[in-house]
Symmetry: C2
Subunit: 150 residues, 2 copies
């Protein structure tokens, strides 16, 4: 299965959150499965919030940011072109707005799951709903408006 | 002038975004001046978005996250206790919700200014409005609801 981010054009592959050409970044990989998107991430030990036991809120927002933009690209591709494949060329989306609700602290030391689903596609705009969970407990939810780069 | 984050209790000083005890983090420092808050930050070269010329959206959200929580603590202190001083003991706030609107790309290679103002304080809740600018051009705005830890 190919990661959505690995289908971005080379010039868009420097993102600190998910770019394959950014060795110091998080290199998040998102996948589309049965019309939904999923990514998994294990925070580095230093990526804590104010207390060492919880993940940093900015990291949570960052995971939503990259996963949402990738989800928008994949949802648009599957809506207009067909199933994502190894040689698919994706349009690149950027975040216009992102709202994150932190429901409970996200624990450190465990794998985080980020899920996305498509709410709506309208021209160059895609609305994505997301959630972050650890061991099936939802820790944060988000909604994003992503816009296709011209 | 003392940074708001330097007045957090030691046990809350590990934040990846602003903790003085997190040497690998961003160590953001926020200040309160005439009832408003301000912080300045220069992104590291690797903290780009999809293209190398623009700052990472997750970094923008992270700067708002730390600056907003610090602003909430300072606004509450000044509303209830008085001017912030070197020996003030702040209550710690965490983010309940954060909405970021990305108005235009934030350029790399320059200092980012983050400003905050208090919209409302109600019990343990503080609402903070923020903006991020480079050379006086606003690149992103945000609103946060921060909640005081018990």
């Amino acid at each position: 299965m190919v990661a959505i981010q690995d289908l971005y054009d080379e010039k868009f592959s420097h993102c600190y959150g998910c770019g394959k050409r950014n060795p110091q970044g998080n290199q998040l990989k998102s996948y589309i499965v049965d019309g939904h998107t999923v990514a998994r991430f294990r925070p580095k030990p230093e990526q804590t919030g104010g207390v060492p036991e919880h993940a940093y809120g900015g990291l949570i927002a960052s995971l939503f940011d990259c996963h949402g933009a990738a989800s928008a690209a994949a949802f648009e591709y599957e809506a207009t072109t067909g199933h994502l494949e190894n040689n698919s060329r994706l349009k690149r989306y950027v975040t216009a707005s992102l709202k994150v609700e932190f429901l409970r602290p996200t624990p450190m030391g465990q794998e985080i799951t980020i899920k996305g689903k498509c709410r709506r596609i309208d021209g160059r705009k895609v609305w994505v709903d997301m959630e972050i969970s650890v061991k099936d407990e939802v820790c944060a939810v988000a909604e994003m408006l992503a816009i296709q780069l011209k």
